[in-house]
Symmetry: D2
């Protein structure tokens, strides 16, 4: 296999190191051979040269929290009940075309998602590299009160056909069990579902649920994941659930910046900062925040309010270990037209559109005090380390050659993340114009 | 083509004439050649003989009001949105297997229904002969407040994909127009939809609607239908809507025995009797009636109450021209398990199960004073005449050879309508054991 | 009793006649003795003189459609269930303070309303002169699906305690009866309820109801009212219901400018113009119209849309006999804070605030082409004639001395209707600062 | 003050001791002076003698869990918003008339309840002795999603007027705080509300809530109560919430027999038995249990199922320290007619009717294996001790003279608890025929 040489770009390696102008990056066999610059950078004679003069080279982006199956409305959930893999692949392609070479799917149906993951991994399909959590342990599937209740309109069997693809033995019925029984269920799930990491609900999903699992149960879940060699994260929305999650030993705090209608306790903030706990942080631009205050749903006002704003500023000021996380879906026209899609239709800087909303995340991070360089680190190497994949996420020798070439400096303006010249995954240039193909839900 | 001779049955011809014992019915080319009895009945030597000794021969049954597309719940409506023809064919086969050689579909999606109708008519598929009304003029499709509101759960486009197959330009938006405009719309529908007859809403479908169309508008609809050579019927649920429908010239009063929370006016009853207006009468057994009084929905209590009981007894006593009508669907397990299916799960003698509930209709008719012979006429020749198909519905020379052989006398006990020995449609014996095939919604 | 002389105002008499500068209006015994001007106007020596120099004298305003009992939310309806008279009196005082000496209450509980009416008429309480319709014939009371369904939260008895004060035998159960029976019920209501005029529902109130009564039933209602010496009006929202109401002989077309999702038919418009039928017209300012288009409820978009705009312009252009009608209530903070009060909280120029919204009506009328003078006539003498009270509504000799003095010319700017110097009812000056007293629902 | 001598009854003292035939119980100054029997029992000459021959003398009954304010439907909650004290007093009288001399109100508005409590204590009103918890710490008031959501029908202010009487700073907003902050709030509530004991939500009230407070927060609440000299109990519905409550040190496990859709863990059962923890046990008769299985709401099926049945039998078999608890209200016709009252209208042995349902509790207890004697202890002395009132609950010298005379042996048949000859509270005979007076909600 020939070596590829990307020549002339300003390389920003994703570790926070200073950009390297006029760089030469050699890629071989899907890995980065070397990163150098200046006249002495040796380029093998037979190397395939990519002229990147004027471009900016960054690691392939990563998102710590996406959902590739957009069955978030009852009609789509039902219509695609036997074809979630199609929409998952479409979404993985939307992500890749936008510069995401790796995404972490933190809620979805395990079987179709892992099938798509494996097809992509084996090179049988093009798409972002996927890591999959399957269900959020302790919640029921989408056609349930944890998400949208369909009990008036769907026959029970219809809801079951949808929900069972998520629940796989770790749904809301866990909440009636003892912590020992919960641990056993999670071990079985880790062993049999084929997922890559675990996510559990430290607090509930709907507005009225507070603490989902006792401290003992949370420890049992974390231990089950660790014994299976998986990272474990929790969904959290209150001060106490965040504290409990940390005490239980979770590896990543999924939207750990959210504490609902109370502020983050000082002691918790100290723990997060001192232990360098990865916080996958949902951030919202000033424009969206203002819109939400005036027009948002009651549920979203519980999430996004003055407490969240203060948490974000304090976390950033203290140098907490934040990760880019968007909760994004590959929404198409039908999702957006759905009655539940009001915010998607009306709000500015919608934070959950896969392939678009990361730009708003970068803007929001900078508005709240993060440096542009740190924001890039939060979207690359930091996610890789938090999830236990140190060979991903940076432009360094030995790493997987997931790379993005931009036409303008992303540190100067987050909007420049949209100005993609090329995306390279494992050393191969992606034909972005062909993605997604076929279109299933996106326009 | 060979003549077929059905020999030895007691023939009950569907006109009300006395049964003929030891009959000989000759069938040729799909028509009845002759009906005779006794030793002198000549049977051609080369005739194929069917020994019907001990059996009862009746005309193929007819139902003045069925719905072959069982998309009556949101989940089924959506799941089969592109395959309503499959469920329609299944239902036509359920009907045929139960002895119905002809059914009148009074509400459904015109395109798939007429396609199935035509396939059956051309001999490409087996099933009951179908006549189709398509939409109920003035109502929206199933995924609308006229049936079941889905506005919270379905994207508008999803509801439209379902509803547009029904509405075809004659939905509820008609109700905002002048009577002249309504007439124009109905003419276009009659010309373009391919349906066989028209049905309009004289009163609304949901509980709160009363009169749907003005007298002028009703006349315009009836005239549009007649000009297109079609019979016209109306859905009615109140005293005034029934009176208006009659004054507008409707050919069949669809469930004209129902007057809701008031009794039928004497003057209206007189008109019905004197003009021999066909009343497609929904009848309920004593057992179902008692169950409904104790456990029925508020909507069903508006329909079935002391007023209906009195109307039924008076209509029968006065010899009104009643037709068997069931409003039946080929419901399967999923319909029955649906939240809306409480009555189907719990009530005795459920009146809307295609292929079963006609037996309850016969029982209910007899409980209310009808003779068994008149009930059979109401299910055969009288429907044929009301709908303008005089060559159907009786065992008489020249008529289409739609015949049912029963093992026991249906006039002795309506349950004997279930004891089918053979069904013959257009002179051919149906392989009932193969029906329905394939099974789509039925168990 | 002494004669009062109002001296020096510009008198605009409410008939459309040119304003009279430097007028002298003599009032005696609650009636206007004379209206004159110039040096020759004789003022009795012992007359009490009111110096109105610089002021504008107009007839006391009239509103063809208000609701003095603001029990339009379930909590207020229940909380005041035994004290509707208190809120009715408060509202009559709000109206009087704003210059309305006469209001027509077109929907409310007959007993408390007529009691307040009589107390005011006897001089036992201060307030606008009231004429009362009681229930809208054919609709149920407020705690019903015709207004707001409470079936999930109120015990049936609770709803009945509220609703029975409206229904008085002419509720929605009428719709199950024959037209003869309907006529009998309405006759009884006219005889026993104590109301002054009748209003019936030609179309329903909720979105899904179209024609409420057959043509025969509408004629029976109108006849019953006329035989009792009452004017009869109908609530109408569709083209056909408007046409039917006219054909039935209604005296006033209540919001007859509304035809919902269709335009007013030319023939209907011609009838209205040619017969000079009084149309109580709901008019909305451009600002409110724009807000509704963007933010209004689905129900309000059925009412206010391009068809209404066109109807209004055509009616005004053709010189139709329009009356000021606001559908206004004396809403207070609790109504406005109620979940149903979104439009009241957010919209500009809210059209239903008693004492305020008539200014918006004048503005809207002028925006749609009406002259300021004609708008004043629509709010005074025209209403008086339409309702059959020719001794009200104008500043002419012999008329009841209901008068308003304004500090600025109302024909120059409708906002000047707010600049009230004095209100005189039956010749007596009202102490407006004391109104309303006590405050019940208003802030 | 004269001594009263109750002579001749069979005394069952409420401690589990054998019944004493032909007893003499002397009462003086509201206390029991002595309990003796046989010929040697000295009766002071001037004693007032009550001939109780043939009667059964038991301690006044106690209920560990009632609700004296029956504002459990929106319409009653609103209608009586300023008069909850009236309904509380009525209920305390219903209880007293049924033989309950002491009741523990575990959920209600603190101010009116404590006012009634004090009036009764001071002898200004007649009624059962009351101890009051006020709000369930961590839940919002009745007009909230924790009980019945009114957000569609009530203006926010209306709901607040109701709810604030319950919440008093310890509503559901606690759940957003840290455990330290929660402790502070509860201390303030204990100091300022005037209540007698504390109750908190260990699990939530609605179906979807699981653990309400973290272990640390529960300990903080218990400590705050204990520091204020109060007993503390928790509402619990799951295995884990029950275990956490015990570990937090709660004094009484309110319906601690309920573990929802899972069984009680063996370890938890052992703890309850070994530590003699008081379990206020909701018990349901076989008849009600069968009805609920067939017809109950989904919520009630979560509570009452095979797990509860097994828990109950095991607790009784192991001799756990159970208390009579009914969750009863003084429901009247309006509550029962309310849409939410289906079970009250249809079920046998309704367990929540104050003054009636304790008989069903006794029956249910015996059906599940408890001895009649133990059931009486559970309804008297055991409750007194659990709640820290050792001078109540038994017929022993020195105790408060709360006594009930029955005409038939309650140990022979629980129905005999209805055969009350007399109720004596603090030594005074109650005029039961006068109770309740006035009637507010009861028939």
């Amino acid at each position: 296999m020939t070596v590829t040489a990307i020549v002339g770009a300003t390389a920003i390696d994703g570790t926070g190191a200073s950009p390297v102008r006029d760089s030469v990056v050699l890629v071989d066999g899907g890995r980065i051979l070397s990163v150098s610059s200046g006249p002495g950078a040796g380029i093998p004679d037979d190397a395939e040269r990519i002229d990147a003069t004027g471009a900016y080279l960054i690691p392939g982006l990563m998102d710590a929290n996406v959902h590739l199956v957009a069955a978030i409305t009852p009609d789509l959930a039902l219509e695609y009940v036997d074809r979630y893999d199609e929409t998952a692949l479409e979404a993985a392609q939307v992500a890749l075309a936008a510069g995401f070479t790796t995404v972490f799917d933190t809620w979805g149906p395990a079987a179709p998602l892992t099938a798509v993951r494996d097809r992509i991994a084996r090179g049988e399909a093009v798409g972002a590299r996927m890591f999959v959590a399957g269900n959020i342990i302790g919640l029921d599937g989408p056609a349930s009160p944890d998400f949208y209740a369909t009990s008036e309109l769907f026959a029970p069997e219809t809801a079951v056909r949808i929900n069972e693809q998520w629940e796989r033995g770790v749904g809301a019925d866990l909440l009636w069990l003892t912590h020992e029984e919960i641990g056993d269920r999670v071990r079985a799930y880790a062993a049999e579902s084929g997922v890559d990491f675990l996510k559990y609900a430290a607090s509930g999903h709907a507005e009225m649920q507070f603490i989902t699992f006792s401290a003992e149960a949370q420890r049992a879940i974390v231990e089950a994941g660790h014994d299976a060699g998986m990272t474990v994260q929790a969904h959290t929305t209150t001060q106490e659930s965040l504290r409990m999650e940390i005490e239980a030993g979770a590896d990543i705090l999924q939207h750990g910046n959210i504490t609902g209608l109370g502020p983050m306790a000082d002691a918790t903030l100290d723990l997060i900062v001192d232990r360098r706990l990865p916080v996958a942080a949902l951030l919202f631009t000033d424009a969206y925040t203002a819109w939400n205050e005036a027009n948002g749903s009651s549920g979203m006002k519980i999430v996004l309010n003055e407490h969240l704003e203060r948490n974000n500023r304090r976390l950033i000021e203290r140098g907490a270990n934040l990760l880019l996380t968007t909760d994004a879906f590959a929404f198409g026209p039908r999702n957006i037209a759905h009655p539940s899609g009001k915010a998607m239709r009306e709000a500015p800087d919608v934070p959950i559109f896969l392939g678009e909303s990361h730009v708003y995340w970068f803007q929001a991070a900078i508005q709240r005090g993060m440096t542009p360089m740190d924001a890039l680190v939060a979207a690359t190497s930091r996610i890789a380390h938090a999830y236990g994949h140190p060979d991903l996420g940076s432009v360094e020798a030995g790493k997987v050659a997931d790379l993005v070439l931009l036409d303008a400096d992303p540190l100067a303006d987050p909007a420049h993340y949209r100005r993609i010249r090329a995306v390279m995954k494992e050393g191969r240039v992606i034909d972005r114009d062909a993605l997604p193909s076929p279109r299933v839900l996106t326009a």
